[in-house]
Each structure stands twice: as structure tokens, then as C-alpha cells.
Symmetry: none
Subunit: 221 residues, 2 copies
DNA sequence: TCCCGGCCGTCAGCTTCCTGTCAGGAGGAA
DNA sequence: TTCCTCCTGACAGGAAGCTGACGGCCGGGA
């Protein structure tokens, strides 16, 4: 379960992500509206915790843009206490739930859980690619029906490739997705990761297109 | 994927096109507003990166003219940081996204990718030219239905020619696109590349117009 | 607090093969 | 013919990628 926490106050953001991690979710943060919008638009999250007061791009705008772009993940909006206008607008814009600040962390977790449970009804949580089968909800991968143990990073790599099936993904894009382009890792890290993955998934699971990038093998579903 | 970069600063323009090329796109530049408007109006691009401060014809005007003329390609506007007025006007005028300068090249690429993906609803990822078939997502070329293995540089050359079908492309333009005109390669490099390509694609796939340039053979689809 | 195990980045060595360069040749233009 | 443009095969330097090994870091357990 991958959750995006959009919150500009670093301390609150850290608290929330810590609590979410403790509850078993993979939480990532965005510090401003632009970054949030962008990540929500290009990556796949199972839920978003969205603060409305954001620098650079207002939370409501972010929310609306996601919805008009067809992004359907559940969104939990954090509002200032008593800000009814905000709340109404948020619901109009497509929020699934709201939580007035300040709040107890337990309540946040409970609502997140409820939203995710509710959303479990529709989204296709399983991606198949050749002999591989990827359960995005449980973050599990199986090959030929038998489960494969993957490390978090390995899983994210496979997941990204699976979401971009039949496309050759250039190494730079993968590195950006895996490491968030903060500090350029020694380029070799990606190759080592791919090698480890191939050992687990089979050598032919991931195809290398020399000079182009990597591609997950497997005809479309 | 063909991208028009409208930017009057030659260095920035070169940086952007280089980055886009590295990401697998065929990038071309327009240096002023008039040229930009004309090319965007008469040719087909999959996306436009548009700087607003342009000589001869303002970027916003170009944008508006395109939209009123019914041109629907996604447009990513580059604005000066903090220029809120510009940004609002840009969105009003029909921009799909904006990016404040200065920006990280990675972010530009990522946004370009997002825009193209979002627009992917209609545009075909496959270009056909005679017996050749170019899959831009898998970065693969097939001839008469059977796949042909191309090196990255070979692919980019074919891709560029395919995007400029039925046009004779002068060698200088090809060299600029392939190598980014930093250091002039020995002219022969291009010829050697063409020779290698002909060996793989068939001698008549690429026509030489002596003194003018090269052209990909194949009736328009 | 210490130990252990897993994760993952780094390194070095190696293989593959891409691609620029060169030299010689073919063929069009004048 | 003569010149000039372009083609092509050969070759070598080096870039891109793979792999096994090593060790730092972190979290869990005693």
C-alpha cells in the first residue's frame, strides 16, 4: 500500500509518515502542491493524505487537477478546524473524506484504513506480465503461481516496470523513480538491482535493450 | 514522439533538446515566436515546450493563435519564477502545464512524459513508412513484419527521418539532432551510420538526394 | 548493549558490441 | 576525363552492461 502524504510542515509530515509506516503502509511525502500534483499524476498511489494549505499550488487545485485527469485514488483531506468552506469545496472537488486539524494520529490511521478498505472494491489490484503476477495491494509478486520474496526496492522496480508494460524504460527514469534524483547514485546501483532481481525472477523476466533501457517481458494481459 | 522546443536562448534550447533526445524524443527548436507559430500550425508535433518571452511574437499570442486555430497538442509553458500573472494567463490561453524557471532538467522531462502519457489517448505510438514500422513505445523497428535490431543511434536516425517523412533532411540537421552539434564529428560518421542502417533495413529504405540530404522512402500512411 | 541477518551501494573485472575513423572505391556532375 | 560526393568494409577504442564479492547500515532479538 503506497500512500502519498502532502504536507508542507516537515514535522507534521514526519509524524504522519511515521504513523503510517507503523501501520504497515509505504508512505512518501510531497512538500508543495506542484510536486504533489506531479507525483500523483505520474505515479500510482493507493491513497493520498492532502493538506490544503500548500505553497506553490493550492491543495484544492491539485485535487481538482487529479480528478479531471482521471486519477481515482481515495483522497483524505486535512482541513483547519471549522473551515467549513474548505471542507465543502474539498468534497466538491472530489475528496473522499476530510479530517479537521489538529487530529489524533489514531484517527488518521483509522480513516486511512477505512478509505483503503472501501476502495478495495473496484481497482484491479493485480497486474500480470508473462509468468509474473503482481499483487499491488499486498505488494507481493509470484512467478508461475509460487510466491517470490522481494525486497522493497526490488518490488518498486518490478512494480514500475509492470505499470509501464511494453514500454522500454530508460535507466534515468528508473533511477529517478527509485531514488528520487536527490543524489546521483553510482549508476551501477541500478544494474546491481536488476541483476539481483533476475536471479529471483528468472534471467529472461527483464529484458535489456542496450542503450535504450529495460522492459518487463510478457505480452499484454 | 516529436517535440517542438520554443526558446530564444540558444544555450537553454540546446540543453533542453539534448535532454529530450536522451529521453528518446525527437526534439526540434524554434527561435522566435513567428517561426514557432508557423511550424506549430503547419507541422504535427506531439508536444510543445513553450517559453513565453520570445522575440517577434509573444509566446502567449502564439499559444492563443494555435488554440483558436484548433491545434490541440499538449503545451508545457516555461515561466519566470513567481510570474503568477503569466501563469494564469497561460492557463487561460490553453496551456496544459507550466514549469517555473529555473528548473531541473529531470523535472522538465518528467512533466513532458506525464503530458504525453495523458495525451496518449489518441496519438498512435506506431509510425508506418512503407514496409517499415516504428514502435515508439518499445523503440523497435520492424520490416515487413519481422523485427530489426537497431542500435540506439540507428534508431534515433530512423525515428527522426520517420517523423519527417517525405522530406529531404539535410545532413547538418541530422548531425545536429543526433549529436547535439557540440563537437562536429567527422562528417563521415553520419554516412557510416546510414550505411549500417541500409544494411539492416534494405538498401532502398533510405534515399540519398545527392547534395541535399536523406529521405526515408515510403508513401505517407 | 552486542550480535546477527538482510538490504543495498560500491568496486573491480570482464564481456559485448556500438560507433567514430580511416582508406579505398564507386558513381554522378561538369 | 576529372573532381567531388557519397558508400562501404575493416578496425580499434571505449561505452554500456553483467556479475560476484565486499562491507556499511539498520532493525530485531537476546
Amino acid at each position: 500500500m503506497r500512500i502519498l502524504v502532502v504536507e508542507d510542515d516537515p514535522r507534521i509530515a514526519a509524524d504522519i509518515t511515521a504513523a503510517l509506516s507503523a501501520a504497515g503502509y509505504a508512505a512518501e511525502t510531497a512538500r508543495d502542491g506542484e510536486q504533489a500534483w506531479f507525483r500523483g499524476d505520474t505515479e500510482d498511489f493507493d491513497l493520498v493524505v492532502l493538506d490544503l494549505g500548500l505553497p506553490r499550488l493550492d491543495g484544492l487545485t491539485v485535487l481538482r487537477r487529479w480528478r479531471t485527469a482521471g486519477r481515482a485514488m481515495p483522497i483524505l483531506v486535512l482541513t483547519a478546524r471549522g473551515a467549513w468552506a474548505e471542507r465543502v469545496e474539498g468534497i466538491d472537488a472530489g475528496a473522499d473524506d476530510y479530517l479537521p486539524k489538529p487530529f489524533h494520529m489514531e484517527e488518521l490511521i483509522a480513516r486511512v484504513r477505512a478509505l483503503i478498505r472501501r476502495a478495495a472494491g473496484h481497482g484491479a489490484a493485480v497486474i500480470e506480465a508473462g509468468v509474473l503476477r503482481l499483487d499491488t495491494r499486498q505488494m507481493r509478486v509470484s512467478k508461475d503461481g509460487s510466491p517470490v520474496e522481494l525486497s522493497p526496492l526490488e518490488y518498486r522496480l518490478v512494480s514500475y516496470l509492470a505499470h509501464h508494460r511494453d514500454r522500454v524504460v530508460p535507466p534515468g527514469e528508473l533511477i529517478e523513480h527509485l531514488y528520487g534524483d536527490d543524489d546521483a547514485r553510482e549508476a551501477n546501483a541500478l544494474e546491481a538491482l536488476v541483476a539481483r532481481l533476475r536471479r529471483k525472477l528468472g534471467a529472461d523476466a527483464i529484458e535489456t535493450r542496450r542503450g535504450f533501457g529495460y522492459r518487463l517481458v510478457g505480452s499484454a494481459t
